[in-house]
Symmetry: D2
Subunit: 144 residues, 4 copies
């Protein structure tokens, strides 16, 4: 069962700031892009209409520790790991590395998302749909 | 009747790029911010729920000519003018100036937006609601 | 001596996502906007050219806990507090509240920034310039 | 000699707005991404340090006509064509199509960029470096 996913992308000009590096807020967009690609790899969309009622995944916690900058046209990998799986929430860890220097971690992030349904205009936490939950495993703690 | 509106804002760090200036795509966010403040000044929101059925305003044309750059912490004015008013669409012109040098135009933009309703998941152009249309006038052509 | 700062802003359309709420990454832009306004209130820019050599402030840690969503046109306050002051770094806490419901916290964030100089293309941590350090105090722990 | 380039990408969640579609300003980021990939395909970066003195490419004109919306997870193609080549500037046209419906144009954009050098803190237009200019051709007008 899958507990990790990797995407590779290249820094775009519009993601840099006047310090010449990727603006720190964009690392959170990169994390989300990896999460959504992970969902697609399981046959789901994060806008989960394949289950009834449809569920959404608002973020309740996000964090990132920055070690080295990313610059324009750098190719980098976002390695996502499922680090916690509860009945109504998931937590992921994200490790950023440049393709040209895979031994140096650029940044490490974390996201916690909650599974919710919308009824009568109100959002409430709900159990992760079984067909999705069945496919997600927590990564082994011994992973380097 | 109003045909113009002005907002003043200050360039934020996250709006700059590695060239040290405001990324060109952000001028389109600035234009939209001026348009929405104009709507609010008339007692409406651009997410127009005050009329039945609610209407939206997708953009069908956007353009900008850039003359000088804007930099971090520059204070600038966006001067919006209504330049065309049809039964189902509006066109605006936007003039950007630094507060510290109001005689030099930084950029000039244009937006055309269409009034639409959503029915059965489909979007179709509709007449601008009367209470809003009654309040909007086209700016005189002689405006410098 | 100042240990806090507040800014008020209004959610812009371009800051929302298809879930109808402010995209979670934008809270980090809001935090930074508050930090930069705090610096300006002390007579400094975060692009600190008033000292020799000039210093910059890369982020080494960022986090946010989300409790309630912010929506288009919501007016909200970002209340920034200095929670740690070391010789070469500062940590801030940020409390988000809607102007219309000031008793409910929308989100709470944290940033740690390091003071750096650039020499020969390399970035290295440096002591916070005295004229700036002299003006910044740590907020009392008893603050509600 | 190359006069066109195509990239394919997928709409990300953070690129949508509360109307459930890609925010109109993001089409300008997509155009730029295609331009930069075109430069890379020629062995150059748009941050052109391979020539002496280095040159930059500020935008002087940008426009877009929007025909249909793009939604989350849509795969789309940006087809870039060089439509004008002057000694100091280039103009491109951009045609947006969904991969799933290649016969319908989603949007059509245009960019004009100027080749500049920076000297003593001032930016001035300069002739496009020969090694780059030699590789770029104007697309035939008969292209559908």
């Amino acid at each position: 069962m899958p507990y990790e996913f990797k995407i590779t992308r290249r820094v775009e000009f519009s993601e840099t700031d006047m310090a010449g590096i990727v603006h720190y807020s964009n690392f959170f967009r990169y994390m989300e892009a990896a999460e959504h690609a992970f969902f697609r790899s399981l046959g789901f969309s994060v806008v989960t209409r394949q289950v009834d009622p449809p569920v959404g995944w608002p973020r309740v916690h996000a964090s990132c520790d920055y070690k080295q900058p990313l610059r324009f046209e750098d190719e980098f990998e976002v390695h996502m790991l499922v680090v916690e799986k509860k009945s109504k929430s998931l937590s992921y860890e994200f490790r950023f590395r440049k393709v040209s220097a895979p031994d140096d971690e650029i940044a490490r992030g974390k996201l916690t998302v909650v599974c919710v349904t919308h009824q009568h205009g109100k959002m409430s936490a709900t159990t992760i749909p079984q067909p999705l939950a069945d496919q997600i495993e927590v990564a082994p703690k011994t992973l380097p």
